[in-house]
């Protein structure tokens, strides 16, 4: 296929409607950044839930050698653990559960406080000192008393942690921020869609003579659509590049450089979360630009 025409058209098209393209790029930039931020907040919630448990989780701590609970005389025995698990499995309030070993608990603490703290001869904690836990997922956040009272008195149980009253407001505010970001993003995405549509209309009008001749001499619809598609893709990718830069800067300067070292109440999102956010934002941008282009060129350039 002859792409010389396509690319010269692409360059011309981008210059011809420069102000429209700038409008599309800026709208995409802001909306994609908001969507990406929402995604990062979502990931941050997951990180926190992983550590502290979700709104539906309560945690059963099993006995260790030097347990704060005087009732515990030694590490939980296999028989005791099985008994606890049996009670958990049989309880109607429980949706599911998983166990966490001392080593897993230790890994989490290391991740929160930083690995380097635990290197050297005198670490502040060891895996052995950690408590084994059973994480219980509730069916209904309001129905928890049955399971708590069922396990609390069992042998080998050190205690039950139910942080949901404390965690709830934190998770709710993160959720509010997330949905706020996405809510605003929806309006901006709508604006971006309209702008993309308008750009295509203008471009189709500016090219109507060429398009008429192309149809007449038998150019394929794909060939006729290609300059429009490329134009839309280029603006979308510029929008993505700007949004990716904003998200990466936010993560690096705010999360990684500041918050991570200063606020050690939860593990913070890593670079992989940013990669995930940029991926979804790219998909969204391509959809926002390509779908209306395909639909509208179909309308304006009927064969």
């Amino acid at each position: 296929m002859h792409l010389r025409y396509v690319f010269s058209e692409l360059g011309q098209g981008l210059r011809r409607n420069l102000s429209m393209h700038v409008a599309v790029v800026l709208t995409l930039f802001v909306s994609l950044t908001l969507v990406g931020l929402g995604f990062l907040l979502n990931e941050q919630t997951k990180e926190a839930e992983d550590y502290w448990g979700s709104q539906l989780q309560i945690t059963v701590f099993l006995c260790t050698e030097n347990d704060p609970n005087v009732k515990c005389v030694s590490d939980v025995t296999d028989a005791q653990r099985d008994a606890v698990l049996k009670v958990v499995e049989d309880n109607p309030e429980v949706a599911g559960h998983h166990e966490e070993s001392k080593q897993e608990a230790f890994d989490k603490v290391k991740k929160l406080l930083g690995e380097d703290l635990f290197e050297g001869p005198n670490p502040p904690a060891t895996a052995e000192a950690m408590q084994e836990t059973v994480w219980i997922e509730l069916k209904d956040p309001k129905e928890y008393e049955g399971i708590v009272s069922a396990v609390i008195g069992l042998d080998g149980v050190s205690g039950v942690r139910d942080l949901r009253d404390e965690l709830d407001p934190i998770y709710s505010s993160i959720d509010a921020l997330k949905y706020g970001a996405w809510g605003i993003a929806i309006f901006l995405v709508l604006a971006a869609l309209l702008l993309v549509g308008n750009t295509i209309r203008l471009a189709a009008f500016a090219r109507r003579k060429e398009i008429g001749i192309m149809r007449l001499v038998g150019a394929s619809s794909l060939y006729i659509t290609l300059p429009f598609l490329l134009e839309a893709l280029v603006t979308a990718l510029i929008g993505v590049a700007l949004a990716a830069t904003a998200l990466l800067s936010f993560w690096f300067f705010v999360i990684d450089q500041q918050v991570r070292g200063k606020i050690r109440i939860t593990p913070w999102i890593g670079f992989d979360a940013v990669v995930g956010a940029v991926f979804w934002v790219t998909v969204l941008a391509v959809v926002i630009s390509v779908v209306p282009t395909l639909l509208l060129t179909r309308k304006y350039i009927k064969v």
Partner: protein, 229 residues
């Protein structure tokens, strides 16, 4: 080459049919004039051949294929076999003569080497050698129409369709254009031309199909513009 079987075309929102139960059969290599008063349906006939529209009823065959049943993605393939020329030339004003002709080949994916050979050859054929680098507005009307014919013919189509190609030209220039179309016809291309130009039709003595209110009222092998006395 082109066959209309009981073709009716009624435009959306129109009570009267633009073409009404038309039967026409055009053989390969024929030269056919389509005449008739304004609004008699000539352009509609040509658009049906190009499949710009589908007939409301009846069948249109081009090169043996029933084109109203052609899938949408095959329409470009049909149009590559048909060259089209209009009264208003439809050249791209920001491209040179050569570029205008080359454009028709580029957009259907012809190779550079083919284009570099076919474009000057065709410009030569239509009598525009040496004018390839001019812009359309530096040419006379007759020359612009020659560019349009070169563009329609550069892909060596089986059929050439011309909708009043001499409508904007003076009689002398028109004769030149007709000679060119005749030459293209003699080289094997079927030519179908809608026109109001009585002088030309009378002079050429080709087959004449006359439409009136969407109906064929005359189909004469070596006819004139009006009915013979």
């Amino acid at each position: 080459m082109i066959r209309f079987e009981k073709v009716t075309k009624t435009y959306a929102g129109q009570a009267r049919a633009a073409l009404d139960q038309i039967n026409v059969d055009i053989e390969k290599g024929e030269f056919v004039f389509l005449v008739g008063t304004s609004g008699s349906g000539k352009s509609t006939f040509l658009r049906l051949v190009l499949r710009e529209y589908r007939p409301t009823s009846g069948r249109v065959y081009v090169a043996g294929k029933e084109i109203n049943r052609l899938a949408g993605w095959k329409v470009p393939g049909l149009r590559r076999q048909i060259g089209t020329v209009f009264q208003d030339f439809r050249l791209l004003p920001n491209k040179t003569v050569s570029e205008n002709v080359a454009f028709a080949l580029q957009v259907i994916g012809r190779s550079r080497s083919y284009i570099d050979k076919a474009v000057p050859e065709t410009l030569d054929l239509v009598g525009l050698d040496g004018k390839g680098d001019r812009m359309p507005d530096e040419l006379s009307g007759g020359e612009q129409q020659r560019v349009a014919i070169a563009r329609a013919y550069v892909n060596r189509p089986m059929i050439l369709i011309a909708d009043e190609p001499t409508g904007n030209l003076d009689p002398t220039t028109s004769v030149g254009i007709m000679k060119l179309l005749d030459r293209i016809n003699r080289a094997g291309t079927t030519v179908l031309m809608a026109t109001h130009d009585a002088g030309i039709v009378d002079q050429m003595r080709k087959r004449v199909v006359e439409l009136e209110d969407g109906v064929v009222v005359r189909d004469q092998t070596r006819g004139g513009y009006g009915l013979e006395q």
